[in-house]
């Protein structure tokens, strides 16, 4: 990247304040702009999956296993079939005869669409009923008799590899254990040297418990296989419609050009809507079998018990440092619980996602991690919940370890971080595990966060309160994200390289349509992508229609997750708009009868250098491009372009967070008093939307730290199967968020933007936990696992924090 380009990115960064305004008052480029999509949502006119009604549509419902591990001896569906409103009952045996009983997962494992031999987690799909209405479908489930022979379940991830543990995946020939993968990164020998020479080594076991993204809308599908045309139209709550279409083609052997996947309005995704679920496939099978459209929508318990969970990482961390607080090395050993099928949506060369970014924001001499994936009798999934492919777990680990080290050294955690953060002149920085961080000024972000929080005053207040027996805690976290997967030669999912396409067409009247491969679940793409194109072409954003979520209407791409939209698809949109601008230059030159080299671009207009009166606006050029104007050799008419963006590297947003909590000494209840978040995601296309995304992620962090966990009992019963058991933060648990920003453009992204979707979810849990542990210092508490519920905090105060992943009665 040249200096000029860096400067251009920087100029874009500041363009928000100065972008010219359209007649409608919108920035023609970056800046705060109200959302286009709001108009329909506010009127109740969004079109979500369950809003879709087709003539003759039938309804599907899934019978699920009550056991975590059991052999299926027999299934009797006769009573269900006799129900007057039931059209079809499908079992694993039906699917087996069609060769559809198993489907590929996004991690190249297989998963049962409907169980045939045995069930492997509570909530697993066992039978599918298609009926005239949703009530009748559920009635019929009750009429199905399944004869189960319970087997011993494997619930504890750390025990899954015991030699005498029951083998879950007996379907895999020759499989004699519950091992999924081993993955290592870093240099163990160098780590040994550094640790041996260190003054101080701190060790800690910690579990990042299983969590669930729980978007407010559950997952569902409406499938319609047209028996005449042979075309399958599938509306799916999907964050990745193109990837889903390709997998459908592979699973069912359907020709891909006869499959149209449509993601309608999506009521939140957060990663939950990336994987392919048996219910989606069953809706298709149901439609094939009945010849009618079939709708399947899961209820909340089904969503929490069977769809893509997150985390479930059991980590042993070790950090080495000098006595004067120079961090030298970090190593970690992880047991990763992947549930009964390995269905993580990781890039294929990264079975533990990007967890090996665990060295965080610090300049270390050595690092090593080892991750062992195991099968357990729990729902499959694994990478979900705004985690940027496991960077959430990595940030939590390193930020807890740094706090533990500060405690050991008797150093202030802010000072310890400041001393060890990467310095601006070290960028681009290659980490011990091979990531190349693109740009950053970390100390500046931390300083801003500390200033905004009034850190010194807070510490003084804490000392006073402690003297009065009150429990106040201050927690920090500093995170480096890595988003926008990825360079396609390194990153693919099921062999599909992680690049994204974009198409732009300017109509003769100067209005435009831009077609994206990514899909919005609330991020406001219809607004921000119009702004990206506007910033490059000078067409007002209200004149640019954004089309997304329909595989027949949009170019191929891998979809929206891992904060990919802005880093990958946003780059594609900028590139495509620049291509159109370049072509517009040739058309303008033809019209002005001058050389293209004599033209200069300014505010949506090409004009003759030195004579701004001689020019053509992009709108005029659009008409000329479609007119009979004679164009030079090789220049085609019309004004459009397409691009596929293959990112050269990830982008690396970062941030510094400060959380202040008060703990009730009598009950252990934690109240988050303040939360200061300084984020750097490069230039902000629409600051209003960026801030909104941060707010949402911070609420997630508070939820994960204090409330949310999907735990199991020893029999493998899911203890988080409803919103009464799986607690999510309401407006009462969330403080007013205090946001700050620094702006460091990515040097390799066309508009310098780094992406923001997951930053706050990644960075905030550690700040909350660090704050609570800090509050409990008078009790000598070093660590307690999330979620820090009143009971857990109270137990920690008694010196015996509990496991939070398994309830032992």
């Amino acid at each position: 990247m040249t200096t000029a380009e860096t400067d251009a990115a920087r100029a874009d960064a500041e363009a928000g304040a100065t972008a010219p305004r359209s007649a409608a008052g919108n920035p023609i480029g970056f800046g705060r702009m109200l959302r286009k999509e709001d108009a329909r949502f506010l009127r109740g006119r969004g079109r979500y999956l369950d809003d879709i009604q087709l003539p003759g549509m039938l309804h599907g419902a899934i019978l699920r296993s009550p056991f975590a591990h059991a052999r299926i001896a027999a299934i009797d569906t006769s009573a269900a079939e006799a129900h007057p409103k039931v059209t079809a009952v499908i079992t694993g045996a039906t699917l087996e005869s069609l060769g559809l009983a198993w489907m590929p997962t996004l991690s190249d494992d297989v998963q049962a669409v409907l169980a045939t031999d045995k069930v492997r987690f509570q909530g697993q799909e066992v039978a599918f009923v298609v009926a005239e209405d949703r009530y009748a479908a559920r009635d019929a489930l009750e009429l199905i008799e399944v004869d189960y022979e319970p087997l011993e379940p494997v619930v504890d991830a750390r025990r899954a590899l015991d030699p005498d543990a029951p083998v879950i995946r007996s379907d895999v020939e020759g499989k004699a254990d519950n091992h999924v993968f081993d993955w290592e990164s870093g240099d163990p020998a160098r780590c040994d040297e550094v640790f041996a020479a260190a003054d101080v080594v701190v060790r800690q076991d910690m579990t990042y418990p299983r969590s669930h993204p729980a978007p407010l809308e559950t997952c569902g599908s409406v499938a319609h296989m047209d028996p005449v045309t042979g075309k399958l139209t599938a509306w799916i709550t999907s964050q990745a419609p193109h990837a889903h279409r390709t997998v459908y083609a592979l699973v069912a052997g359907l020709p891909e050009h006869k499959i149209q996947v449509i993601s309608p309005d999506i009521g939140g995704g957060f990663g939950n809507k990336v994987p392919i679920y048996p219910g989606y496939v069953l809706a298709v099978v149901g439609s094939i079998v009945t010849g009618a459209p079939v709708k399947w929508v899961e209820d909340r318990s089904e969503n929490l018990m069977s769809t893509g969970f997150a985390r479930d990482y059991h980590m042993r961390g070790e950090i080495a440092a000098t006595r004067d607080g120079r961090i030298l090395g970090l190593r970690v050993d992880v047991v990763a619980d992947h549930g009964a099928f390995n269905a993580s949506a990781n890039p294929s060369k990264y079975p533990a996602g990007f967890f090996n970014i665990f060295t965080g924001s610090y300049d270390l001499q050595a690092a090593h991690c080892k991750v062992t994936g195991v099968y357990t009798n729990k729902a499959p999934g694994g990478v979900a919940y705004a985690c940027s492919f496991r960077i959430t777990e990595a940030v939590y680990l390193v930020e807890r370890m740094v706090d533990l080290l500060a405690d050991e050294l008797g150093t202030d955690p802010a000072e310890l971080r400041m001393r060890n953060l990467l310095r601006p002149e070290q960028f681009p920085y290659r980490t011990q595990t091979g990531w190349e961080y693109d740009s950053g000024d970390y100390p500046r972000a931390l300083r801003l966060a500390l200033d905004m929080a009034g850190y010194d005053e807070l510490r003084a207040e804490q000392a006073e309160r402690r003297a009065r027996g009150e429990l106040m805690g201050i927690g920090l976290s500093f995170f480096t994200e890595g988003v926008g997967a990825g360079p396609r030669k390194h990153m693919d999912i099921l062999g599909l390289g992680m690049a994204d396409g974009c198409e732009l067409r300017v109509h003769p009247t100067g209005k435009a349509v831009v077609r994206l491969s990514v899909q919005t679940q609330g991020q406001g793409h219809e607004t921000t992508f119009a702004q990206i194109v506007a910033s490059q072409l000078g067409i007002p954003p209200e004149d640019i229609e954004v089309v997304h979520g329909d595989t027949d209407q949009t170019p191929f791409g891998l979809g929206t997750y891992g904060s990919r939209s802005t880093p990958v698809s946003g780059a594609a949109a900028a590139v495509v708009a620049r291509r159109v601008r370049d072509k517009a230059r040739l058309v303008a030159a033809a019209a002005l009868e001058c050389s293209p080299d004599d033209l200069e671009w300014e505010h949506g207009r090409w004009h003759v250098r030195g004579d701004p009166s001689q020019g053509r606006t992009i709108q005029e050029i659009a008409l000329l491009a479609h007119s009979s104007l004679e164009l030079p050799e090789g220049v085609e008419g019309h004004l459009d372009a397409s691009a596929v963006y293959n990112p050269p590297n990830l982008t690396y947003p970062f941030g510094a967070y400060v959380c202040v909590v008060d703990v009730d000494p009598g009950t252990g209840r934690v109240a988050v008093r303040r939360f200061v978040a300084v984020d750097d995601c490069g230039p902000r296309i629409n600051p209003m939307i960026v801030e909104g995304q941060i707010h949402g992620g911070l609420a997630d962090g508070v939820g994960m730290a204090l409330m949310q966990a999907i735990a199991f009992d020893e029999d493998g019963n899911c203890l988080g199967g409803s919103f009464m058991d799986y607690l999510l933060p309401t407006a009462m648990e969330c403080p007013p968020w205090e946001l700050g920003e620094t702006v460091t453009p990515s040097p390799h992204h066309p508009i310098g933007a780094k992406g923001i979707g997951e930053s706050a979810t990644v960075g905030s849990p550690a700040a909350v936990v660090n704050a609570v542990i800090d509050a409990l210092e008078p009790f000598g508490v070093r660590h307690a696992d999330m979620p820090l519920t009143p009971a857990q905090v109270w137990l920690a105060m008694q010196g015996r924090p509990a496991r939070t992943d398994i309830a032992v009665w």
Binding site: G44, R300, G692, T742
Partner: protein
């Protein structure tokens, strides 16, 4: 069984099963899909609409129980093409992202403002505490309701401010600071 009720000012009569939930009645039978559904346990509030002027979770009410009553849904908030001030507030303050919780939040907010035209932020938080939003972290929802309180007649009376795009996202709550690379 046959039920008759007033929905958004118009009388409707339908044959329904006695067990039919009100949320499914308005969505599947009347096609008013603005009211959403999000949980099995009456915790999320995506389904909030008004029955006889009170917000209720319509997943917890049978259609039969609404017989003879008056139901109001989000589709009835805008009048003559003019958004209600709470709808305008949600837009101005970015009080929605995916939009799934929004109808329920809007109905609760309108009810709150009808009783308490100038609620504090704490009052607003309490009013929406039975409803979940997974996207916004609530702050901009609170700001949106405050916006509506401050603009009881909507944008009409505050022409300039309503169209300006640079109004603070969260008046009163939170704050923000910026540093840009040189």
């Amino acid at each position: 069984m046959q039920v008759t009720m007033t929905v958004n000012g118009a009388e409707v009569t339908r044959d329904v099963e006695p067990r039919l939930l009100l949320v499914h009645f308005v969505r599947d039978h009347l096609g008013l899909t603005g009211t959403h559904w999000g949980c099995d346990t009456s915790n999320c509030g995506a389904c909030v609409l008004w029955m006889d002027g009170e917000p209720v979770k319509s997943c917890t009410v049978l259609a039969a129980m609404a017989a003879g009553r008056s139901v109001r849904t989000v589709e009835d908030l805008a009048r003559d093409g003019e958004l209600d001030p709470v709808q305008q507030g949600f837009m101005q303050c970015h009080g929605l992202q995916c939009g799934f919780c929004t109808p329920g939040m809007l109905m609760t907010a309108r009810h709150l403002l009808d009783r308490d035209p100038d609620p504090s932020e704490a009052t607003i938080r309490e009013a929406i505490s039975g409803q979940l939003c997974r996207c916004t972290g609530y702050q901009n929802i609170v700001a949106a309701v405050r916006w509506a309180a401050e603009h009881p007649h909507g944008a009409a009376e505050v022409d300039d401010e309503a169209v300006t795009q640079s109004a603070p996202a969260a008046p009163g709550e939170g704050r923000s600071e910026t540093e840009v690379s040189a």
